[in-house]
Amino acid sequence: MNKNNVTQESVNISRRSFVEKSATAAAVFTIAPGVVLNQVHAKPAAEPVSDAKRWGILVDTAKCGNGCNDCVTACNEENGIESHGRPLTDQKWIRKIKLKDNLTNHVVSLPMMCQHCEKPPCVDVCPTGASFKRDDGIVLVDRHICIGCRYCMMACPYKARSFAHEAVDNKVEYQPRGKGTVESCTMCVHRVDNDRIPACVEACSSALIFGDLKDPQSEISMQLEKHGGKQIRADLGLNTGVRYRGI
């Protein structure tokens, strides 16, 4: 008798718990599906970045539209980069370049941004260590200890860095920026850490592929293995995380 009562009670509790948990899950998935999906896959904030991954971007110049500026626009919107109408001193995290081969006259168009080098010259020269590389290959500027000496801009072979020549009006919460410090493409680290792809890649699914260069099953690795991909200024031996096809 006692034994039966206990069993019946256990069943009731577990049924109640099941109903409660299901209702909570249903509510959360209905209200904020994106948040939950991100939480499910993202690296917990307390866990340090590891070198198990190396993030990279592959640019297929054959698919990069001549005159298309979608990647630039997406980057500017995502990171709050605004022009002050002074092109020489405005910040540029990504820009389009159109090239012609001197011998063959072949014309290509490509986006140019921080190449996220494995051996970044900007990190070597930075006196305070504000310029740094994460273990997953993303090169960043810690704008809290950047003194604005611009030595990294002298050292970068890609002109990928900009100096904040004037006050930054449009600040987004995940991107601390300010007058007098140096900034550049972060590979949208705030998105990558939440299992999302960089804004430029999202805006241009045809020519840009983002992924883990260390995972042989990732699309970027498979594409690179199949078709290859060049580094800009490969002679410098920097082993860039951004690779180009068709140049």
């Binding site: 370049i97 010259p121 070597d124 020269v125 006196p127 072979p157 020549h165």
Partner: protein, 407 residues
């Protein structure tokens, strides 16, 4: 040689006060410029995202390089034991310390965040040449300061030779560090040459000595103290040798670039003024080579003006102007020439001026900041010779010439 009597200047004349006031005004100008640039942001200067180091750096690097060179006279006396230079050694240390302070003032005030100087002093990336230099600069102040103290303090004088040798080695390291800031920049065609370090050392000899001669002539002229031809002619000939040595290094630098096909574009830009390099080429040929080297050489070696102080003053002034022109061609032209990202290709369009030569022109606040650095250096010297006995009471030939007969 007779015993040398070092004596502080009186420093009460109207001329002295006027000089202090004038230099103070320049320093105030520099501080005002800094406020203007930092308040508005660097867009109000001539600098941009391509030429990131502008006129302030031309002045700053010149002064830092000259600082190490100004120590020459002391080094020749202590390390190489040349007696004729001994009386000048204390002044040499003062000029060296003052020039370094002026150069560093400019560098710090041009930072994007000069308020974070404490960060620069507390966070070190030991792979950065800038970080090495911070240690080298601070060490220079301490070592040269101690060296000056040992020379001026009779009880410590016996140790001054050791301090002098340490200072000599340290100053060579310091200028190696300054030259390597540029020499180790692999990305830029105009730099990327280890030769930059020895070239900067030779440049320091020339620029530092020129400033030292100017200070010496001014100090003795204005205080009415005696300054003989023997010392001056030694310094004059030494300056001539240093100018020739700098020319040799400049020649080898361009010869190396001319030999390498990938650098031909840069040489055409720099030497012939092609592809938008007219302004930079003119500063090189007229500023650095003609005014800064050839005319001073003529003024130094022409027999007709052998003992003429005015020509020596002019020659030294021209070396300073030529030195600034050389710094301009190294620092500004080196950045103005575009990065070679795509060899064998022409850039048709770019959202960031890729492939284009930058036409930098310095803004007034940048120039005022640079001049303020000079003024701080000179003010420190003017103040230094008043409070301590850096200057010998007399440098007459009978005092300095080892062959002069004892009275």
């Amino acid at each position: 040689m007779k015993n040398i009597h070092l004596q502080a200047i009186e420093g009460k004349s109207a001329g002295y006060m006027g000089l202090v006031a004038l230099l103070g005004a320049f320093i105030l100008g520099a501080l005002g410029s800094t406020y203007y640039m930092e308040h508005n942001g660097h867009w109000v200067t001539g600098m941009d995202n391509q030429v990131v180091w502008g006129m302030p750096h031309v002045f700053a690097v010149f002064l830092i390089v000259a600082a190490s060179g100004a120590l020459n006279v002391a080094s020749i006396s202590s390390v190489f034991n040349k007696k004729i230079y001994k009386p000048l050694a204390p002044l040499s240390t003062l000029v060296a310390l003052a020039l370094l302070a002026g150069g560093l003032m400019i560098l710090v005030l041009d930072l994007g965040r000069p308020d974070r100087l404490i960060v620069a002093m507390t966070y070190y990336n030991f792979k950065s040449i800038f970080a090495w230099n911070m240690i080298l600069y601070n060490g220079f102040f301490v070592i040269v300061g101690v060296y000056a103290w040992f020379m001026l303090d009779r009880t410590m004088k016996q140790y001054s030779r050791y301090a002098g040798i340490t200072a000599f080695v340290w100053r060579l390291a310091l200028t190696t560090g300054t030259g390597s800031i540029f020499g180790f920049l692999v990305a830029r065609t105009g730099y990327d040459m280890a030769m930059m370090a020895p070239m900067f050392i030779i440049m320091s000899f020339s620029f530092g000595l020129a400033i030292f001669i100017l200070v010496l002539l001014a100090a003795y002229n204005w205080t009415g103290r005696e300054l003989g031809d023997v010392v001056l002619n030694r310094l004059r000939k030494l300056l001539g040798v240093f100018i020739l040595a700098v020319l040799y290094f400049v020649f080898v630098y361009h010869l190396s670039n001319l030999y390498v096909a990938e650098h031909h574009g840069f040489e055409a830009f720099m030497l012939l003024g092609e592809n938008g390099g007219e302004k930079y080429s003119m500063i090189f040929w007229i500023g650095q080579i003609l005014l800064g080297s050839l005319i001073p050489l003529a003024l130094i070696y022409a027999p007709a003006v052998a003992n003429c102080r005015k020509t020596l003053t002019l020659a030294s002034l021209l070396v300073v102007i030529g030195g600034l022109a050389q710094m301009y061609t190294i620092i500004i032209a080196g950045q103005a020439y575009p990065l070679e990202m795509f060899p064998g290709k022409t850039i048709l369009e770019s959202g960031f001026n890729d492939g284009l030569v930058s036409q930098y022109s310095a803004s007034l606040p940048e120039i005022l900041l640079g001049l303020g650095g000079f003024a701080l250096s000179l003010l420190m010297i003017v103040f230094g010779v008043r409070v301590l006995g850096f200057l010998p009471a007399s440098l007459a030939d009978s005092v300095t010439d080892p062959h002069a007969k004892a009275e």
